[in-house]
Amino acid sequence: MKKILIIEDEKNIVTSLKMFLEYSGFEVFTSNNGSDGLYLAKHKYPDLILLDLVLPKIDGFNVCNLLNNNEKTKNIPIIIISARTSKEDIDKVISLGAKNYIIKPFSMDQIKKIIKEYLREP
C-alpha cells in the first residue's frame, strides 16, 4: 500500500482528506506542523507528500527546501496544497523542489489525479 504524508495545519481539511485517501486505498500519515512533518518524512518513507505552505513554526517553503536537501527525503515527490494563488509563490516553491501545486479549494478527483501522476514508483 502506498503511503502518503499530509503536512497541513487545518484540522478539518486533514480529516476529510485522510478519510478520502484511506478510502482510496492509501496509508495516510498526518502532521500539523513542519518539524513533525520532517520527522515523519524521514522515518515513515512516504511515497508522496502533500504540503501546505502556511504552517506554524517552520513555513512550507522552508520545509520544502529542507525535504529537498535531505538525503533521505529528497526523492519523495512533494505536491503543495495551498490557498495562496500568487505566481511568485508557485514559482518559488517549484524552484525549491516541489513537483506541482494545487490550489485550495480543490475537488477530490483533482487531488486523486495529481497524486496518481506524481506518486513515486518503487
Binding site: A83, F106, M108
Partner: protein, 624 residues
C-alpha cells in the same frame, strides 16, 4: 507759403502765368506778322501792280502814237490811245491813293507832271500829224525829240515806283523774317526756361517729399521690428512736418503701450512662476532637443537636483531614467500615439524609502500646432500606491483566509456525496447537493474577486503571445466541448482570412471567451435551439470579435449595468454554476488590459452580440 500744397499752388500759378504770357506774346507776334504781311500786300504789292499796269498803259499809248505815225490802219490808234489814257489815269489814281513809302509821293508827283506834259505833247503831236500829212518827218522828229524821251521818263518813273515798292517788299519780308525768328526764339526760350524752372522746383519738392516719406518708411520698419524709440525730426510746418509730428506721437504711444504690456507680461510670468513653484507635484518643462527649461521646487526635491545646475542642459543628465526619457522624447516628437498608455509609473528609490510617481507628459504646441516642448508632471502617488498595496494585500489575505474553510466544506460535502463515510438517503442527498452547490458558488466568488482585484490593480503579469483567432477559438471550444455537446449548441464560425494573429494572454482570453459563451448558453431562448456565432474581423491594427447568440436578449436598461460588479440579469437557466455576477466585470477588465474594449448590443427576445477588440500581432511570427 508754408504748406506743400501752397508751394505747389504757387509753382503751378507761376508756370501758368508764364505760359499764358508766353502765349500772349506769341499771339502778339502772330498779329504783328499778319500785319506785316497785310502791309506788304496792301502797301507795296498793289503799288507794284499799279506801276506795272501804268507802264503797260503808257507803252500802249506809245504804240498807238507810233501807229498813228506810220498809218497802221489795223485798229483805230486814237481810240486806243484814249482808252489807255483812261487806263493809265485809273492806275495812276490808284497809285496816288496808295502812297505809303518815302519818295513814293515824289515819284507820283513826277509821274503826274510828266504825264501831263506827255498828254500836252500828244495833243501837239496830233495837231502836227493833221497838219503835216505830207511831211511825215515833222511829226516823226517831234515824236522822237519830244514825246519819246517823255515816254521813257515816265516809264522810268514807273519803274522807280515799282522798285521803291519792291524794295520795300524785300525789306518788309526780311523784317518779317526777323520778327518771326525773334518771336520763335523768345517763345522757345521762355518755354525752355519755364520748363527748366518748373522741373527744378518739382524735383526739389518731390525729393523733399520722397525723402521725408522714405525716412518715415524706415522708421516705421524699425517700429515694426519692435524699436519704439524711433523719432522723426520735424522741420518746417508743412504737411510732411504735420505727418512727422503725428508719427512721433504714435511712436510714443506704442512705446508706452509696449511697456505696459511688458509689465503685464512680467506680472503674469511671475504669477505663473509662483504657481508652478508652489505646486506640490513635480513639473519639468523641456524644449527643443529635450533641453531643460524649468524644474520646479517639487521636482527638484523628488529627484534631488537643482534647476540652476541643469537649466538648458539635456534632460538625460538631470534624470538618468531611460523610460522617462523615452516618454518625454516621443511626446516631443509627437509619437505619443505609439505609446499604449499616456502615463508612466516611475519608481524612485531615496535613501530611506521608495517613492512612486505617476508621470504624465504633454506636448506644448505653438499657434500653428507644432510641438515646441514638453511639460512633464510628476504626481506623487506613493500614498495611493501604499493604499493600493494595502488593499491588494488585504484582498489577497482575505481571499486566502476564505479559501481554507471553503475548501474544507467542499471536501466534506464531496465525501458525503461520494458516500464515503456511509450511505445516504434521498433526502440527505438533496441537502448534500445544496451544500455543494453553494459551497461552489462561494468558491467561484472568492476566485473571481481575487482575479478582479488583481486585474484592476494591474498586478497580473500578462503573458502575451501571438495566436491566430482559429487557434484560440479551437482551444476554447475544446474546453467547453462537453457543455456544448450536452446543450446541443450549434457553433458558427466566421474568421477573416487575412488576420494573421492577435496578441493575447491565452489563459486570460480563454476566460473571456468561456465567460461569454457560457452566458450565451445560460441565457438561452427557452423555445429555440442555441445558435452561437463566433466572428473575427480585421479592422486596421485591431481585430473585432463578435459572439452572437439567439438567446433571450438583455433589456436596454441593463445593457450598461451588466459589466458592473455583482450584477446578474434575471436568472440564468443553468443551475450547476450559479455565477458570481463578476464574470463580465472580469472579462471587461481582461480585455482592457489587452488594450481593447468590450461592449454589447442586444434586442429582447432576439439575442445579444458581445463585441471586443484585440490588437493585431505586430510581427507575423506565430507561436503556437
Amino acid at each position: 507759403m508754408k504748406t506743400i500744397k501752397g508751394k505747389l499752388l504757387i509753382i503751378f500759378i507761376l508756370i501758368f502765368a508764364v505760359l499764358t504770357a508766353n502765349s500772349i506774346i506769341a499771339i502778339i507776334n502772330f498779329s504783328t506778322l499778319k500785319n506785316s504781311i497785310d502791309n506788304i500786300l496792301k502797301a507795296n504789292y498793289e503799288s507794284v501792280v499799279y506801276a506795272q499796269n501804268m507802264a503797260i498803259a503808257i507803252e500802249r499809248q506809245d504804240s498807238a502814237e507810233l501807229a498813228m505815225m506810220f498809218e497802221d490802219s489795223s485798229e483805230d490808234p486814237l481810240k486806243l490811245f484814249k482808252d489807255y489814257e483812261a487806263n493809265f489815269g485809273m492806275w495812276l489814281e490808284k497809285a496816288t491813293n496808295n502812297i505809303t513809302e518815302k519818295g513814293e509821293d515824289l515819284v507820283i508827283t513826277n509821274i503826274n507832271s510828266l504825264y501831263k506834259e506827255y498828254l500836252d505833247k500828244f495833243n501837239e503831236f496830233e495837231t502836227l500829224l493833221k497838219n503835216n500829212k505830207s511831211n511825215e518827218k515833222v511829226s516823226r522828229d517831234y515824236y522822237y525829240n519830244e514825246i519819246f524821251p517823255l515816254f521813257e521818263s515816265i516809264k522810268d518813273e514807273c519803274r522807280n515806283l515799282l522798285n521803291i515798292n519792291q524794295d520795300k517788299m524785300v525789306v518788309l519780308k526780311n523784317e518779317s523774317a526777323v520778327i518771326a525768328k525773334r518771336a520763335t526764339l523768345i517763345n522757345a526760350s521762355i518755354s525752355i526756361l519755364t520748363i527748366a524752372i518748373s522741373l527744378i522746383f518739382i524735383i526739389y519738392l518731390l525729393n523733399k517729399i520722397i525723402r521725408s516719406l522714405s525716412n518715415l518708411n524706415s522708421k516705421i520698419k524699425e517700429i515694426a521690428k519692435g524699436d519704439y524709440s524711433q523719432k522723426l525730426i520735424v522741420s518746417g510746418s508743412d504737411e510732411i512736418a504735420a505727418l512727422s509730428e503725428e508719427f512721433n506721437i504714435m511712436a510714443a504711444k506704442l512705446q508706452a503701450y509696449d511697456l505696459l504690456n511688458i509689465n503685464q507680461l512680467m506680472k503674469e510670468k511671475q504669477k505663473v512662476e509662483a504657481i508652478v513653484e508652489s505646486i506640490s507635484d513635480g513639473v519639468i518643462v523641456t524644449g527643443a532637443a529635450n533641453k531643460v527649461l524649468l524644474i520646479n521646487k517639487a521636482a527638484e526635491k523628488f529627484f534631488n537636483i537643482s534647476e540652476e545646475e541643469f537649466l538648458k542642459k539635456d534632460l538625460i543628465y538631470a534624470i538618468k531614467n531611460p523610460d522617462l526619457f523615452n516618454l518625454i522624447d516621443s511626446v516631443r516628437k509627437d509619437q505619443a500615439k505609439i505609446l499604449t498608455k499616456d502615463y508612466l509609473d516611475l519608481t524612485i528609490k531615496h535613501k530611506n524609502n521608495v517613492n512612486y510617481y505617476r508621470v504624465i507628459a504633454k506636448p506644448i504646441t505653438n499657434i500653428s500646432g507644432e510641438s515646441i516642448g514638453v511639460v512633464t508632471l510628476f504626481q506623487d502617488i506613493t500614498k495611493f500606491k501604499e493604499v493600493d498595496d494595502l488593499k491588494s494585500e488585504f484582498v489577497a489575505s482575505v481571499s486566502h483566509e476564505l479559501r481554507t474553510p471553503i475548501a474544507s466544506v467542499l471536501m466534506a460535502a464531496e465525501l458525503l456525496n461520494k458516500e464515503i463515510p456511509g450511505k445516504t438517503n434521498i433526502k440527505q442527498k438533496e441537502i448534500i447537493s445544496i451544500i455543494m452547490e453553494d459551497g461552489n458558488r462561494l468558491k467561484n466568488l472568492i476566485n473571481d474577486i481575487l482575479d478582479l482585484s488583481k486585474l484592476e490593480s494591474g498586478k497580473i503579469a500578462l503573458n502575451f503571445k501571438n495566436y491566430s483567432p482559429k487557434e484560440i477559438i479551437d482551444y476554447v471550444l475544446k474546453i467547453l466541448e462537453i457543455r456544448i455537446r450536452e446543450e446541443n449548441v450549434k457553433i458558427k464560425l466566421e474568421i477573416d482570412k487575412n488576420i494573421l494573429g492577435v496578441k493575447v494572454d491565452l489563459s486570460k482570453i480563454t476566460q473571456v471567451f468561456t465567460n461569454l459563451i457560457e452566458n450565451a448558453i445560460n441565457y438561452r431562448a427557452l423555445n429555440k435551439a442555441i445558435i452561437i456565432e463566433l466572428r473575427a474581423k480585421l479592422l486596421d491594427d485591431k481585430v473585432l470579435f463578435y459572439i452572437k447568440d439567439n438567446g433571450r436578449g438583455i433589456p436596454e436598461e441593463d445593457q450598461k449595468k451588466i459589466f458592473d460588479k455583482f450584477i446578474r440579469v434575471e436568472e440564468g437557466e443553468n443551475l450547476k454554476n450559479k455565477g458570481s455576477g463578476l464574470g463580465l466585470a472580469i472579462s471587461k477588465s481582461i480585455i482592457k488590459s489587452h488594450g481593447g474594449d468590450l461592449w454589447v448590443e442586444s434586442l429582447k427576445e432576439k439575442g445579444s452580440t458581445f463585441y471586443f477588440t484585440l490588437d493585431v500581432a505586430q510581427d507575423s511570427t506565430l507561436m503556437t
